[in-house]
Amino acid sequence: MRTNTFLLARVLLKGSGDVSQNRKKWILWSILAVAFLPMIVQIGAFTSVAHDVLKGMNIENIIPAIVLAITSFVVFFFGIFYIINTFYFTKDIESLLPLPLRPFEIIGAKFIVVTIYEYLTEIVVLAPVLLVYGIKSGGGILYYLYSAIIFLILPVIPLVVSSLIIMPIMRFTGIIKNKDRFRYFASILGIVMAIGIQFVSTRFFSSNINQDKIESVLEQLESKISTVTSFFPSAKYAAMSLVRSVDAVGILNMLLFLGLTAIIMAVFLYLSQKLYFKGVMGISETGSKRRAMSNQELKRVTEKRAVAFTYFLKEIRIILRTPPFFINCILGNFIWPLIILISSMANSNGGMNFKQLGSIIRQNGDNGLILAIGFAFSAFLASSNNVASTAISREGQNMYFNKYIPLGYNKQILVKVMSAVAVGVFGVGITLCFVFYLIELNVYTAALIFIASLLGILFSSFTGIVFDLLNPKLDWDNEQKAVKQNFNILFNMLSCIIFSGAFIAFVFIMGLDIIQTFIATILIFGTFNALLYYFVSTIGVKLFKKIEG
């Protein structure tokens, strides 16, 4: 019975990652480590400073409580999304339901999977703080033992809380029965929340904090911490066990922490038996009307279109209608304008704002750097929308379709590039409009930047499809894997950063003015694009032919 749970958890974990290729997995882990290391180091360093400051006020013991409360909240927040995806919206559930497994075995296994995901969160948020605090406060073996136990057990209660929010919603309301609609809603909500937090924190940190204010801030913080810890009571016991790890109070609190977690877990497993299966059954992907079309309608929708256009339309439709594709390829385009807008609002009362930036640019009106930076920004933005770098991967198991239709591979590749360009122009267009408006750029410069950025978009779309042709990721059972866990996205962004970074350096070293930079862009990236066009229509076609769908 217990072995069933662990066995299933192992299978589910394997299914979620590309474990078939161990080398690839290591590359992924090292990239993740490199990406998060600065953040981990920073958090560690901040803890060290905070410890010294708080020790001066004799309240350094507040650190474990703060970090455990914050971690609990972060785990809870991510948990909502993990739980929805892992519990309800994975394809595996359809094959698990008919197996002779008891509900709590399935839930237990899925719960373990989600908990393991959360360990990654904890490595960034919790581990550095506990480690630095341990060193600073001279914690003994028991401190580190407790820390390790807390690290492993802490996610349980926040995850139970997020499950208990999600499960009744899934069980008793019909609103989330439509998987696609819900995913759109959840992702937009997630972005709004993330930007909201960003907004609040910018406000909070940008207001000048002086020595007098610190105490009142700390007081506020303390009351907030106690609200969070009362929401996750286990965090309080855990914190206490760390602070008093040397004496019996520590052990007592540790036991309370473990006991409480065990009780809550048991209650959760009992409740979830009642809630889970009925909620997960009958989740449909989409609704349907089942209505005949009138003759007029039929005539309208069966109009003949050019082959390239119809293929283009298919690409765009699938991107817009498949939630993971939409989220990763389209929604990202709106984030930059929003971030720009919010930071311009948040900084309105101090610091460097866009108007000042604009006047600096106007004073150096003929400097080529502005164009080079605009170009680099556009190329990077276009590469980060993933349309080109996942163009082949998104086809997945249906890749074979492209092989038997009478449409040349060359044409198919180019239309895929064009759909990436279209999305790129859209994203870069709205972002540039925002920036131009905020920094009050003149129309002439704006037009030059926009034209140059078109070449950047084309460049990143070509390089994107080259990466995807070289190593498409077709073997996925969940659309998310095509556009998220795909190295081609990363490679393409890196290549865009390298090329456009080199271009900025070139413009800076040569001291080009704006017209010279414009001409250089056309010459250099025009040539690159021509070469890439030649590459995809010769070697690219061969690569396409080799892909065995």
């Binding site: 989409t286 119809t310 439709r317 209608r321 009478p406 449409l407 065995e548």
Partner: protein, 242 residues
């Protein structure tokens, strides 16, 4: 007409999926392609349709070489894959229209054909819904309709009856018969021996990449001396391994 001449295919340099295959499917015939799982049926069909290339040998459809003139060859046939889970985010009608554009079907022809096919397969009410909302059988039907929209002379179908309800299965068989009797070619793979027995003019049995038998059912019966059922002959041929 479909011709396969000395066709070979090896996977990863080791596994010989198709071994020196020779087949000739004439105009006007329904040809059944039989074999146990993993015998090389799907590999053969993938080579036939240009999805994968063959290592050596020649494949021609209506006399056009698939390797040398792929686009022209691909216009000759319509292909129904064994997995109908494709373009799930498109509406039925969008998919049909997409196929119409890809195969360059005129607006009036495609409208007539969509009306006729959706009537015949009882899909009139489902066309404006997304394919995702379809059952397995309906998905199978929309794929078949998409293939037939350009009225190809050669039909290639991989396990076409799987998941179809009896009525649709009957309609499809009827259509295959009509198509062949107009002088066209129908090539399909199947596990279902009764279908092959009732429908096919000729059959080929493939196992481990080799053709074990190719001919009419009568010839097969003579070959095995007696009035044996196709099932028994099939099991004997393929060594009763499955």
């Amino acid at each position: 007409m479909i011709e396969l001449i000395n066709v070979n295919k090896t996977y990863n340099g080791k596994l010989k999926a198709v071994d020196n295959l020779n087949l000739l499917v004439q105009k006007g015939e329904i040809f059944g392609f039989l074999g146990p799982n993993g015998a090389g049926k799907t590999t053969t069909i993938k080579m036939l349709t240009g999805i994968i290339g063959c290592d050596s040998g020649t494949i021609k459809i209506n006399g056009i070489d698939v390797d040398k003139n792929p686009l022209e060859a691909k216009r000759q046939f319509g292909f129904v894959p064994d997995d109908p889970n494709i373009f799930l985010r498109l509406k039925g009608i969008e998919y049909l229209n997409f196929m119409g554009d890809i195969y360059n079907v005129s607006a009036s022809d495609r409208k007539t054909r969509i009306e006729e096919l959706s009537e015949r397969f009882e899909m009139v009410n489902a066309l404006s819904d997304s394919i995702q909302s379809y059952s397995h059988g309906m998905r199978q039907k929309i794929v078949i309709m998409g293939v037939l929209i350009h009225n190809p002379s050669v039909w290639i179908l991989d396990e076409p009856m799987t998941g179809l309800d009896p009525k649709s299965s009957f309609v499809l068989k009827e259509m295959m018969r009509e198509h062949a009797s107009k002088g066209n070619t129908v090539f399909f793979s199947t596990h279902v021996l009764e279908v092959a027995e009732k429908l096919c003019d000729r059959v080929a049995v493939i196992n481990k990449g080799k053709i074990l038998f190719c001919g009419t059912l009568e010839e097969m019966k003579i070959h095995f001396k007696g009035e044996e059922s196709l099932e028994k002959m099939f099991l004997e041929l393929t060594g009763n391994e499955n």
